[in-house]
Amino acid sequence: MAEIQSNEGGGKKKGGSKQKKISVHVDFTPMVDMNMLLITFFMLCTSLNKPQTMELSMPSNDKNITKDQQSEVKASKALTILLDKNNKVYYFAGQPDYKNYNSLKELSYDAKSQNSIRSLLVMRNQDAVSKIQLLKQQKLELKISQDTFTAQVARIKNGKNTPVVIIKATDAATYENVIDVLDEMQICNIGKYVIDNITKDDKLLIEGKQTNGASTQGAAK
């Protein structure tokens, strides 16, 4: 409904010219209608947030890797986390002791709980965590640049005394459990972690823990 209104009075100002001044008013209502429709379409058919991703590097299971390419882990620095069904988590430090199911400790996913994965990892990784805290503070105060920050963080994470976490999940654990644990690695600034296949002994150890030793005989052999 575009309308053209001719303004009769306009011509009087200039005495000589007889040309009529035409003011053009376009009705924008249909335009608004169309735009609203388009907006609704975009709001319904698109998603605003792009999904997040987590980058993961798995160890190569190539059998031709020579001895010196393999990295050995000091037993004192190793920490094995076992994930089981029904959101159960267990861990043992260092070498596994398959004879004694009490070497396995139970953990919880809930960060607020007393024996959460986070409190354990932060305790183990105290040195790196406090150093990174300090760096973050410095970055906030703009004392160091982003580049030096990331370089420093990477250096601290791969430092000599940081713990090495081995994550083993049973078949019944859910994908969410795995992601949660990987998440904790990021929160607790653990640079060295690996997802490994669970062994039969590990499974028996969990079973022993759950049944209070009824099946530890099998594990001991």
């Binding site: 735009n35 997040q52 991703t53």
Partner: protein, 198 residues
């Protein structure tokens, strides 16, 4: 007693400003949002604190539903065609021109190769209905998933692998996918997660 004459005012409102606003909003939505891809199964991704955004191109997305069915999607149509022909070649299945052009338009695929021909001959509506009952076989005996990934890598070496799985998927399924990828020496990949709001 004279009647009060109410002046007749035109009730027309100038819509120009309104139109400006809507155009601005529209531009905002067009620039910031991404289209939702049609996926055969609903997948609720687990939350994480990771804030890395996924790159937009060269993604090979592996979709895993809670029951353990595996689907795949590629973002480039030219890659899709090459991969289909390569995989078909390995299993001795030939596709007609029409089937290939239909495959090219699929947002997600995940059909055992022996059923691929019948699947591609279906109408799009039927395809949507049956796709969720299929899934690429990942068994160690008949690991077609591995063949798909291998050929996808061959056609596009810049491809990044992203795994999108439901949070209730048993780890056994994920492990099967991961070991298949490890066998192909694909040791770096992305796990798609949602942002944790804590």
């Amino acid at each position: 007693m004279s009647k009060v004459k109410v002046a007749r005012k035109s009730t027309r409102i100038d819509m120009t400003a309104m139109s400006d606003v809507t155009v601005l909003l529209l531009t905002f939505f067009m620039l910031t949002s991404t289209f939702v891809k049609k996926e055969p199964v609903m997948v609720a991704t687990p939350a994480s604190v990771s804030e890395i955004k996924i790159p937009e191109t060269n993604i090979l997305q592996i979709l895993i539903d809670p029951a353990g069915k595996v689907f795949m999607s590629l973002d480039k149509q030219s890659d899709m065609v090459n991969v289909l022909q390569a995989v078909g070649g390995e299993y001795g299945v030939e596709f007609t021109e029409k089937q290939i052009s239909k495959f090219k338009l699929l947002p997600t695929f995940g059909v055992p190769i022996k059923d691929m021909k019948t699947f591609l001959d279906m109408k799009p509506e039927e395809q949507d209905k049956v796709l969720k009952d299929y899934g690429i076989p990942t068994d160690s005996v008949d690991n077609q998933f591995k063949i798909w990934v291998k050929n996808a890598r061959k056609t596009n070496s810049d491809l990044r692998i992203a795994i999108k799985a439901d949070k209730n998927t048993p780890y056994a399924v994920i492990k099967k996918v991961m070991t298949s990828l490890q066998d192909l020496r694909e040791n770096r990949y992305n796990l798609i997660t949602a942002l944790k709001n804590s």
